[in-house]
């Protein structure tokens, strides 16, 4: 049977959700079942740093039930992800192992940037509306339990993304701790938000004008989806409509809101916090329209699976988003754009010609590209210690779509491009064997490419690479003097040879 069935599990900080999807093979996916059970893991983690035993038992019990449901549908594959509640516990690994032992389900941890990237993909899977909305200046506001993520678009590519610890459950926790009275709540949330958002605006938003706000949350979005399904209204709200809605929320008590919005009462405070945040950020940006597609992490997990098994091909190029983010970071630290572009080209040429030797894939090619773009960001801080400072900058800056591990690879490649290579036995902050090998290979390529543009004058534009026996022949058509490049090329040849057992040879072909 060509139809593939897939289960996506979201071990969230507020709720556990299982969605079953079907991929009929016509570039679409269909949700066939969705179960969720409330389980507040977040409060335990955020307040105590660990998940209590009772919650752990309930978590395992529910996951076991999920397992039964998956078995019923005879799913071909599944993916279970834990988000901030699991990620931020002190004993993540132990929790993961316990779940695996007790339920047979392997829960992977999503880093924040991966999680947000998936949410973003889920929103993009609503192709029609998404395409239309990002034609104008757009921001995505992804509201989670622990933190929120604000991402900005520029010409339909995502250019920056920032994480702010203003999650709904976290705010709720504060409100409870300070026992805020109901009339104080709104001001309190606003103040807390603005304290963080002021800086954000100064640094990132500047005078960028945002027209549309895409909201991803588990609180207000479900209601918006319900509403638009019920009265057939457009899922996109004008800012004024949102304000009206907000007014309605403001004046009433929990029971009234729950009844009028047809929501369980316990959800209402969270809906309220979410609404205050949306309003606050919407006003800060001057957004005129708000779109709540009602997508969840599970949709993103499934979408990514669909992409991976090639049953889904989205029209939006997400890799370009990652690259655009990197370019933007480089810009912020005043990296040389021209040199980055040259390096991108050179590394790509070398990488592609070496495919048979290095055995790396598309994803690694992206790391290399990112490393090339970010290769000199550390110069902003220090011209001497560029390796270390670049490493620190990359490690401290979120790149949407890259996991923590992936970011570490990119950061290391950038670092070793400048400073001496450190072998895996000697590293303090150790990484896996595979990651180490990727770093070594990509470093060798980036170093070689860097040496080819040592003068920073982009002399070697028309570089061709060909692998012959144990040699990689790099041919350049240029009239210029490339003595400097040749010199540095020789210097970096040994490391390349050590990593690949292939000798790079630089040939200049002068065309008259």
């Amino acid at each position: 049977m060509s139809v593939k069935t897939f289960a996506a599990i979201d071990v969230g900080s507020y709720e556990l959700t299982l969605k079953i999807f079907e991929f009929p093979g016509n570039n679409s996916m269909r949700e066939i079942d969705c179960v969720s059970r409330r389980l507040d893991l977040g409060t335990d983690t955020y307040a105590m740093g660990k998940i209590s035993n009772e919650k752990m038992d309930e978590l395992c019990r529910t996951l076991k039930d999920f397992w039964e449901i998956m078995r019923t549908y005879r799913v071909n594959d599944y993916k279970a992800y834990g988000t901030s509640a699991i990620r931020e516990t002190q004993n993540t690994t132990i929790v993961q192992d316990q779940i695996a032992q007790r339920t047979g389900i392997r829960v992977d941890i999503l880093s924040n940037s991966e999680q947000r990237f998936m949410d973003y993909k889920a929103a993009a899977s609503k192709v029609e509306s998404f395409r239309k909305i990002i034609e104008e200046k757009t921001a995505i506001l992804d509201i989670g339990g622990g933190s929120i993520q604000i991402s900005l678009f520029d010409n339909d590519t995502l250019v920056s993304t920032q994480n702010l610890r203003l999650g709904v459950l976290r705010i709720q926790e504060y409100l409870n701790r300070f026992s805020a009275k109901s009339f104080q709540r709104e001001d309190f949330i606003n103040e807390m938000a603005m304290a963080r958002l002021g800086t954000y605006k100064r640094l990132y938003l500047k005078d960028r004008e945002i027209r549309n706000l895409i909201v991803i949350d588990d609180y207000l979005s479900p209601w918006a989806v319900k509403k638009s399904a019920k009265d057939g209204s457009r899922p996109i709200m004008e800012a004024s409509e949102f304000d009206q809605l907000f007014e309605r929320l403001r004046g009433r008590d929990l029971g009234q809101i729950a009844a009028s919005m047809n929501l369980p009462e316990e959800r209402v405070p969270l809906v309220f916090i979410s609404a205050v945040l949306i309003r606050c950020i919407g006003q800060l940006m001057g957004a005129r329209r708000i779109w709540a597609p009602g997508v969840t992490l599970c949709d993103g997990i499934a979408y990514e699976y669909g992409e991976r098994i090639k049953l889904i091909q989205g029209e939006h190029d997400f890799e370009e988003d990652i690259v655009a983010c990197a370019v933007n970071i480089s810009k912020r630290y005043m990296g040389s754009q021209k040199r980055s572009e040259t390096l991108e080209k050179l590394t790509a040429t070398i990488f592609d010609s070496m495919k048979r030797v290095h055995g790396l894939g598309r994803r690694e090619r992206l790391y290399l590209r990112l490393a090339a773009i970010l290769h000199d960001c550390g110069k902003y801080v220090s011209l001497v210690n560029t390796g270390e400072t670049s490493y620190q900058i990359v490690m401290a800056t979120e790149i949407i779509g890259l996991s923590h591990e992936e970011r570490k690879i990119v950061a290391n490649v950038v670092r070793f491009n400048h400073s001496g290579f450190v072998y895996d036995g000697q590293q303090a902050d150790s990484m896996g064997r595979e990651a180490f090998l990727i770093v070594a290979k990509l470093t060798a390529i980036l170093r070689l490419a860097s040496s080819l543009d040592r003068s920073h004058r982009q002399k070697l534009q028309g570089l061709k690479a060909a692998l012959r026996d144990n040699q990689m022949i790099l041919t350049v058509d240029t009239q210029e003097d490339i003595t400097l490049e040749k010199g540095f090329f020789e210097a970096n040849r040994d490391f390349f040879k050590e990593v690949f057992s292939v000798e790079p040879v630089l040939k200049q072909r002068k065309i008259f």
């Binding site: 009929p24 019923t72 989806v225």
Partner: protein, 710 residues
């Protein structure tokens, strides 16, 4: 003009009194000379068993309220004590009518038709007397437990609903004090004993008469001064009725100690019972005058059902109707294939219930079926559905069954087969905390070439193949994607998961259903105000939800034409000027028990029809899980509308509620008689025949093949 308060108690009828009217309509069937004689016996028997249940549940509940000093008036403004007072009068009248029907109409007519019911053992012939005495010694005596009361032996426990014979006895030699003695008429023996046939037809006698006649054999050293049968009804319902308000529950909990468990709430004795004997019974059982029923005839008329079962009187019964084949589902078809061709409506008992059983049976065997989920409320003893579900689990399907243990009087029965299902590997959910699951839904998840497809059966009646032959119900078989999604969500909710974001088609009680009904009624009201056509036709078993009734009044006042077909309780008053002038109410009591719930809303000429498991009662809308489903396919909508129209035409079995609160048989004047149930029988037969004709080979000529492919 001042605003009318549609909630004013004067616009409402008390539900218990309305119920009495319903039982009265059943009694009218027993009194209707147009009904075959034995059917009349059956109807009379039904009124008796109805009344027993009414005592145990409703009267008991009212007594609880009075004991708990609960004063809140009902929908019609009556306190529990006031209700009991009126009920006492109404019930006494009803019982009198039951027995005058029995004595004056049915017994003589039976005699004319060759069945003599001998009321008193004194009327036996000598030969017969000898027969019954022998019968007593051989069959009855060994199972009797006579009990006497004296200073050393306390008054024995008289069991609820049992028939007993009380006697005053006196020691033979001493001629001293009168003593009380009692013996239970054994329920293991048939209560009717047929006498050896003589001339003039068959003769039967009731068992208690045989015992009474032989009483002296039980108390050998005593003289029997007098002996009379008696029967009591107890407040034995240990669960508090879901019908009652939550504040009552609290009140009763508080007063729990004061509640008199097992208190006798009715005493029936033979009329003319010895005063001294009656005095003892009343004292010992703490019976007040108004709860005493002196009966002119045999106690417990449910025995007439046994009389109905006597062989050899088939010509005095209505001809048995055999449910017909559903044309869309010929025998031997693969049900899933047929459902894929389009939604199928089932109309029971006119059409057979077999497809529903087959639906589950085929699902159990189908290798592509992944899961079967079902809610079960009341199931027949040897249910083929249970067997099919067990088989499915054994075949490795995921079977989830919600078994409602709180179904009245069925608890024990349900536990037995629920355990059986569990053993077979089904996932059994034993109901939900605080809610009765009354919805009737089955979901079959099947893996097909183009992905998962869901087949759903939704019904208005229980998954009970036995009652499906007697109750009128409708069911829908569909594989519509939107209903399938909703059905999945229903079972997810029943399994304890969160509610879905959106319901496509189904409306669920207790969370959404009432709102939906109110919305639909208000929508008609809106259309009426705009001067557009507005109409509601609703068929159900009972109507007593105040919010719904008030909404109906409001709609009627706005000009919506409302026709209600309510078999049983109806707290709404029809024909009040300015309030319910546009509302008609009719009740159909026929050979089959009207049970389907169908709701029609005109919706500005784009009419919508819904079916469901819920009546318009607070318990259905607020304390039960119920499902309302729309029927979308045009032919099926027409069919349902036809059912409603036909019932509105009925002038044989229908009674119309007058504005003075009395039900009156529908007018027949100058119209040809229309018995809707008979019409449906005929239609089902015709349809089945037509489709059988289509499926049969049309020709007797052989068709030679003229082409051969090698």
């Amino acid at each position: 003009m001042s605003e009318i308060d549609f909630y004013d108690p004067k616009y409402y009828t008390n539900r218990e009194l309305s119920w009495i009217l319903f039982n009265r309509r059943v009694l009218d069937e027993a009194r209707d000379k147009n009904n075959p004689l034995f059917e009349r016996l059956k109807f009379l028997s039904i009124t008796a068993s109805n009344l027993d249940e009414f005592f145990m549940i409703r009267i008991a509940s009212l007594k609880d309220m009075v004991n708990a000093k609960y004063q809140k008036p009902d929908i019609a403004g009556l306190t529990p004590a006031e209700q009991l007072e009126r009920l006492d009068t109404a019930i006494h009248e009803l019982v009198e009518l039951q027995y005058s029907t029995y004595n004056r109409a049915l017994v003589p007519r039976c005699k004319q038709n060759g069945l003599q019911i001998i009321g008193r053992h004194e009327d036996l012939t000598k030969k017969e007397a000898a027969f019954v005495d022998k019968y007593f010694e051989e069959n009855v005596y060994p199972v009797l437990t006579p009990m006497a009361v004296d200073s050393s032996r306390p008054f024995p426990l008289i069991r609820n609903k049992t028939l007993n014979i009380a006697a005053l006895v006196q020691k033979k030699d001493e001629k001293g004090e009168l003593e009380f003695a009692t013996v239970q008429v054994p329920s293991v023996l048939s209560r009717i004993v047929e006498l050896p046939s003589g001339e003039g037809g068959r003769r039967i006698l009731f068992l208690e008469e045989i015992i009474e006649r032989n009483m002296h054999k039980l108390f050998l050293n005593y003289d029997i001064v007098c002996a009379y049968p008696f029967r009591i009804m107890r407040n034995a319902d240990l669960t508090i009725e879901e019908d009652e308000a939550a504040d009552l529950l609290k009140e009763i909990e508080k007063q729990l100690k004061k509640r008199q468990w097992g208190e006798a709430i009715r005493l029936e004795v033979a009329a003319g019972c010895d005063k001294r004997l009656l005095g003892i019974l009343k004292d010992e059982l703490h019976i007040e005058e108004q709860n005493l029923y002196a009966i002119e005839g045999p106690l417990d008329l449910t025995v007439l059902m046994k009389v109905y079962g006597l062989e050899g009187f088939e010509h005095l019964k209505a001809s048995k109707f055999v449910p017909k084949q559903v044309p869309q589902l010929p025998a031997g078809c693969v049900i899933f294939d047929e459902i894929r061709k389009g939604d199928i409506l089932l109309h029971h008992p006119y059409q057979t219930f077999e497809p529903v059983v087959q639906f589950i049976r085929q699902a159990a065997r189908d290798p592509e079926v992944l899961a079967i989920k079902q809610t079960l409320y009341r199931v027949s003893g040897n249910s083929p559905i249970i067997a099919a579900l067990a088989l499915a689990a054994e075949n490795g399907k995921q079977v989830t069954v919600l078994v409602e243990l709180k179904a009245r009087f069925d608890e024990e029965n349900n536990i037995v087969w629920a355990r059986m299902l569990e053993k077979a590997g089904c996932h059994v959910i034993y109901g939900l905390v605080g809610l009765k699951t009354h919805s009737k839904i089955t979901l079959v998840v099947r893996r097909e070439e183009d992905g998962i497809r869901r087949y759903v059966h939704l019904g208005t009646g229980n998954y009970n193949d036995a009652t499906a032959k007697l109750y009128t119900d409708v069911g829908l078989l569909t594989c519509s994607e939107s209903i399938g999604e909703d059905a999945t969500a229903v079972f997810n909710m029943l399994s304890g998961y969160s509610e879905p974001l959106v319901w496509n088609k189904l409306s669920l009680a207790p969370l959404w259903l009432k709102k939906k009904f109110l919305y639909l009624i208000e929508r008609e009201e809106k259309f009426a105000r705009e001067g557009r056509p507005a109409r509601i036709i609703a068929k159900m078993n009972s109507l007593c939800d105040q919010d719904i009734i008030a909404a109906l009044y409001k709609a009627s006042a706005a000009g919506v034409k409302i026709d209600l077909i309510v078999r049983g309780i109806c707290c709404l008053k029809a024909g009040i000027p300015g309030v319910s002038k546009n509302i008609t109410v009719r009740s159909i009591v026929g050979n089959f028990l009207e049970h389907s719930r169908i709701f029609y809303f005109e919706n500005d000429e784009h009419y919508e029809i819904y079916c469901g498991s819920a009546d318009w009662m607070p318990r259905n809308l607020e304390r039960r899980v119920e499902i309302l489903f729309p029927v979308d396919r045009q032919e099926l909508k027409e069919k349902l509308l036809h059912i409603l129209r036909c019932q509105l035409e009925d002038n044989v079995k229908a009674s119309v509620l007058r504005s003075d609160g009395i039900y009156q048989k529908a007018e027949k004047r100058r119209r040809k008689p229309c018995n809707s149930q008979d019409e449906f029988c005929a239609e089902a037969a015709e349809e089945a025949q037509k489709s059988a004709g289509e499926n049969a080979p049309l020709t007797r000529t052989f068709i030679p093949e003229t082409h051969h492919e090698s």
